[in-house]
Amino acid sequence: MADAPVSVSLAPPRSVAGIGAFAGGAGLPAALRAELGADLPAPSRCVQAGGVAVSCLAPGRFLASGGRAADLPARLARSLAALAAVTDQSDMWAVFAVSGEAVRDVLARVVPLDLDPRVFREGDLALTRAGHLNVRLWRLGATGYEIAVERSFAPDLHHALQDAGT
């Protein structure tokens, strides 16, 4: 397993909006479908629709992220006004793309999750820890993952990913 290449790169900045459903937000799924063309995913799942990824972090808590030009948080704040709390988180996250044949061995040295491809499937996500850091892990493809940490912790996560290479 020693030298199978795994690449780690910092993803380019993207628009990110946090969405917290209000109790009276029964119209949220419809509003989101209208705005993005996406159905709300189940907890710990992520769906893609028209360049925007919608993740469910917990019941009633979502994250929408898409290309820079989308001005996503402002759009969503307007269209979801009385249905959910929208926060602009575009500057808040450092996202590392991690991929390659041995990616699960590398990630197994960073997070304490069962990464077996049959258990952590494409489109799954998890809120977990990497050492002392709170991180979010997405599986986007067969051997492609993204791991996100709050911006000020990025150098520490980067170190951890590098150390995990061997």
Binding site: G24, S90, D91, W93, D116, H132, R151, S152, D156
Partner: protein, 973 residues
């Protein structure tokens, strides 16, 4: 002659790859595949160390991790590791090892004199000696003992190696890859589950590597190779050089993998890796550890465990001696004789202490021309620094035989340690004369020798069952006898007879413990230290308690056994720490403008997890001069400070106002949109918890700040309140600390600076943005929130932009004429205004103590309200916030205690302490805040601030806790 004791052919070593190594400076040679122990034996080196207490000459007893004697210092310099078992250390080119616990040399060790003082050093001697005179303990005895005690020396240098960690999930974890473990893994893999197989040796096979057995009519090694191939093909994760060291909760097992210890240097690899294996089930196939027999001189180099002798002969192609004798209470003796003879060694005797020697065994001995001494024992092993002869006892009493190797076997102890990590006690099995696992941790079952099935056939069968396989799939083996008759010790030995080799505990010590009443096994252990060395008593525990049972007329089952805690073998602290060392012990957070501040030459200090600039020095300035300049700049012109580290929490929803009213002591819901308010949060017990600013952006949208240090605690608290205490409130709470870069811009010129940065259409004039207002506007072309709030007491704003624009905003503020200021000046400015920070809001003060009692609303319920009203917190004599002015130009230190002017500096006159102190450039003198009993009632009195640790004290006047602009005129500029 090099490797005089190496057999010409055979073994599992690689003769094509010779390896050069050194021991105590002597250059020697071995082969790839050797352990340090096997290579030493091949070179005829048998004296390897000196024992702990008596400094007796010691050699190699075993061939595995249970080794108590052959402890060496491995490697040099910072990588030096003491107490390494030579039987586990794999040989590599350039390996350097040194013996331990001897001076000046191994052969001539002055402390071997301790042997003559043995009666003084008996068990428990610490409790009976070194008592008088009492003063000598600290100055004489303890330093002497410290120098004489201990085995190896740590390097004293920082560990140069890297350590990693990894998690693996499995349906079945098989612990041990001998015949039982391999069989279990094959069966489990056949069921389609995910299997992890952990083996502490460098190769799979267990006893199959050391004993010449046959499976399915073929040599066992052939079956082994095929089994390994099948396991790999089935995708089983095979971890060699990995010792499972502990069983924890939830099916979690800890393992330590020696990734690079067998290499000359780790290179880019971690030296060791800590594994966390989470498994639904586990199979304990850890085998069994052979028991020594207790007789006189049984610790001499040349006295070895019979199974170890077979390992060295068969696996490593070594002749551990020239003339050998075998002393065994079980039928393993037969195999040992055959192997020794085949290796070209002379076997002078088989000594069998049992009432009856089986005919089959007699026949084997006869066929090799080996005399059998039935119903006999070895009373004494004789020699100087190595075995030269044995003296028999029992029926052959008095017979003396010259030999340089004695292979002894007292039977086998199943390695049950992991099975008892959850507190389950092992159970005595009479027929086996051994303990087997009792209640095991959930999901674990034992197989093979670990469960008491010592034969190869038994191991294969029980392993397969444990792995979920079918009986029919188990291969056949040749006939084996596992008959054993208990024999623990030769009574009345000549010379010292050792039970625990590593801690130098003898049979006389066990008898002493019995005489002195320490007959409980837990007392036996602690009184004699039997079983307390780094080997956890692997070769001594059972023997010791069997002896105690005999001495006290109990059965072994009645006597019981001690149990075990993780780790099973010693683990380097580095392996447990992993990457969390030095600066990476915990995360280090940098603000968005960190690099910009560094480019300005700012030094940084740690504020919790964050790095914050202390000041921005100009050329030629001392630190104090920088701070003074920054303070004056803010009071007279304009300065800006990075306050991005404050916690920021976004609160939205139809009931956001009600929620904030519940968690804060003052009323929040009365804030109008576009306004902000200073807010105080209490703990449930009524004490002050945290303070910050809450701003209302719209009817349903608030943003709150917290102190830097409490950000995650406050967020946890709010989550708890929302989910558990007020689940009926419709509100969302989202942390957004890292989203925003935030700067305080303060000073009489602050507005004119701000006007240069806002867009053309924005009005930040005094009427559009009055004190405590908040606006959303473009700053430097990007969306921003501007809060007109002040921590410094000057006309001030806090400007928040997306974190990616933080550095640019800092540069823009600087270009617009504001001077950067750091944490030190920030502190002086707030101190001049009497604002509390963590030093005052320290978890032990109430709102009233801090002069904020009026903030507690009487119109609503809120967290902490009820307990804040209890009598003790209403006491007028509680220490409360006051200002402190040193007299006569004195200085002040935070932490100094406040004693009335005329009273002596003693605890009964201690009225409080100084919480914060600094030199105020604005006032031209030192100022401070403190918590003083009676608080502001004492204004006008004179106290002494005493610092006995540094022998400093200052006379201070008690003054109101605000030093500059008490009316706050500057705020409304």
């Amino acid at each position: 002659m090099m490797q005089a004791f190496r057999q010409e052919t055979g073994g599992l070593i690689d003769r094509a790859r010779p390896v050069a190594f050194s021991f105590d400076g002597r250059r020697l040679q071995g082969y790839q595949g050797d352990t340090l122990a096997s290579a030493l034996l091949a070179n005829g080196v048998r004296l390897v160390g000196r024992s702990f207490k008596y400094h007796r000459p010691r050699g190699i007893l075993s061939a595995g991790p249970e080794e108590p004697n052959a402890l060496v210092e491995l490697r040099e310099g910072a990588a030096r590791e003491p107490n390494t078992r030579a039987t586990v250390a794999e040989l590599f080119d350039g390996l350097s090892a040194r013996s331990q616990n001897r001076f000046p040399s191994l052969r001539h060790d002055v402390l071997s004199i301790n042997g003559a003082l043995a009666p003084i050093f008996a068990a428990g001697f610490y409790y009976k000696t070194f008592m008088w005179p009492a003063a000598f303990w600290e100055r004489v005895y303890e330093p002497l003992i410290r120098r004489a005690a201990g085995l190896g020396r740590a390097s004293g240098l920082p560990d140069p190696d890297r350590y990693g960690k990894q998690t693996a999930f499995a349906d079945v974890l098989v612990i041990g890859a001998g015949p039982a473990g391999l069989s279990a893994a094959l069966a489990a893999a056949g069921q389609g589950g995910r299997v992890v197989l952990a083996e502490q040796d460098s190769a799979l096979g267990g006893r199959l590597l050391s004993d010449r057995r046959s499976i399915d009519g073929r040599p066992a090694l052939a079956w082994l190779a095929e089994a390994e191939a099948r396991l790999r093909a089935a995708g089983v994760r095979i971890l060699t050089r990995t010792t499972i060291t502990g069983v924890f909760d939830g099916g979690t097992y800890a393992g330590v993998e020696r990734v690079a210890d067998h290499l000359a240097a780790p290179g880019t690899l971690p030296r060791q890796r800590l594994w966390r294996v989470v498994a639904r089930r586990a199979v304990l196939a850890t085998g069994a550890i052979e028991r020594p027999i207790v007789f006189g001189g049984n610790d001499l180099p040349g006295v070895m465990l019979a199974g170890a002798v077979r390992s060295y002969v068969n696996r490593f192609a070594v002749r551990p001696g020239a003339r050998a004798a075998v002393f065994a209470n079980n039928d393993d003796g037969a195999g040992t004789i055959a192997d020794l003879v085949q290796a070209g060694m002379e076997v002078v005797a088989l000594v069998d202490p049992r009432p009856q020697t089986p005919p089959a065994l007699r026949a084997v001995a006869a066929s090799h021309g080996v005399p059998v001494f039935e119903q006999s024992t070895v009373r004494q092993a004789v020699g100087g620094t190595a075995l030269s002869s044995i003296v028999l006892g029992g029926k052959a009493d008095g017979v003396r035989l010259s030999c340089d190797l004695l292979a002894m076997s007292g039977g086998w102890n199943p390695a049950v340690h992991l099975a008892s990590h959850h507190g389950g006690r092992p159970v005595w099995h009479d027929a086996l004369a051994a303990f087997v696992p009792g209640q095991m941790p959930p999901g674990m079952r034992a197989a093979g020798a670990a469960a008491g099935h010592v034969s190869t056939g038994g191991a294969l069968r029980t392993g397969s069952e444990a792995g979920g396989g079918k009986e029919s799939a188990v291969p056949s083996t040749g006939p084996e006898s596992d008959a054993v008759t208990p024999f623990w010790q030769v009574v009345n030995p000549t010379g010292k007879a050792f039970v625990d080799f590593q801690n130098d505990v003898t049979s006389a010590d066990v008898a002493l413990a019995a005489r002195e009443g320490f007959t409980n096994v837990e007392h036996l252990k602690r009184y004699t230290t039997l079983g307390m060395a780094t080997d956890q008593g692997k070769t001594s525990n059972v023997t010791g308690l069997a002896m105690m049972a005999a001495l006290t007329g109990r059965t072994i089952a009645q006597t019981g056994t001690t149990v075990f805690r993780p780790p099973y073998t010693p683990v380097a602290i580095g392996a447990m720490g992993g990457t969390h060392r030095g600066a990476r012990y915990r995360p280090t957070r940098r603000t968005p403008a960190h690099d910009w501040a560094a480019s300005q030459g700012a030094p940084f200090t740690e504020a919790g997890e964050w790095l914050r600039a202390t000041h921005f020095p100009k050329v030629g300035e001392t630190m104090q001069q920088s701070i003074d300049r920054e303070v004056r700049t803010v009071r007279q012109a304009a300065g800006f400070c990075d306050v991005s580290t404050l916690g920021k929490i976004d609160v939205q929803g139809p009931h956001a106002g009600a929620f904030l009213d519940f968690v804060y002591a003052n009323t929040i819901s009365s804030l109008a949109p576009g306004r902000a308010r200073y807010a105080l949060m209490l703990r449930e017990d009524g004490f002050a918890f945290d303070d910050g600013t809450v701003a209302r952006l719209s009817d349903t949208h608030f943003v709150a700040t917290t102190t830097t240090g409490n950000a995650s605690r406050v967020l946890q608290h709010l989550d708890f309140c929302r989910q558990m205490l007020k689940p009926d409130l419709d509100v969302c709470v989202e942390p957004v600390t890292d989203q925003w870069a935030q700067f305080a811009l303060a000073g009489p010129h602050a507005r004119s600076v701000l006007e240069q940065l806002v867009g053309a259409g924005s009005d930040v004039g005094g009427r559009s943005l009055p004190f405590m207002a908040v606006a959303q506007a473009a700053v430097c072309g990007v969306p921003a929130r501007i809060f007109r709030i002040s921590f410094s007491g000057e006309l001030a704003y806090e400007i928040a932009v997306g974190a990616s624009h933080g550095a640019a905003l800092a540069r823009a503020l600087q270009s617009a004429g504001a001077a950067p200021y750091g944490l030190e000046a920030l502190n002086v400015l707030r101190l001049e205004k009497g604002h509390p920070v963590a030093a005052e809001l320290n978890g032990q003060t109430t709102a009233a103590d801090l002069g904020l009692g009026r903030m507690l609303s009487r119109k609503k319920d809120f967290i902490g309200r009820a307990l804040s009203e209890r009598a003790a917190l209403q006491d007028a004599d509680r220490p409360a916030l006051v200002g402190l002015r040193p007299r006569a130009g004195g200085t002040l230190q935070a932490g100094a205690h406040l004693v009335p002017a005329g009273a002596p500096a003693r605890i009964e006159h201690d009225h409080g302490h100084v919480t914060s102190a600094a030199y105020s450039a604005t006032l031209g003198c030192w100022i401070g805040l403190g918590l003083l009993a009676g608080g502001q009632r004492r204004i006008g009195e004179v106290f002494r601030a005493v610092n006995p640790l540094q022998k400093m004290e200052t006379e201070v006047d008690i003054v109101p806790p605000v030093f500059h602009d008490p009316a706050g005129a500057a705020l409304h500029g």
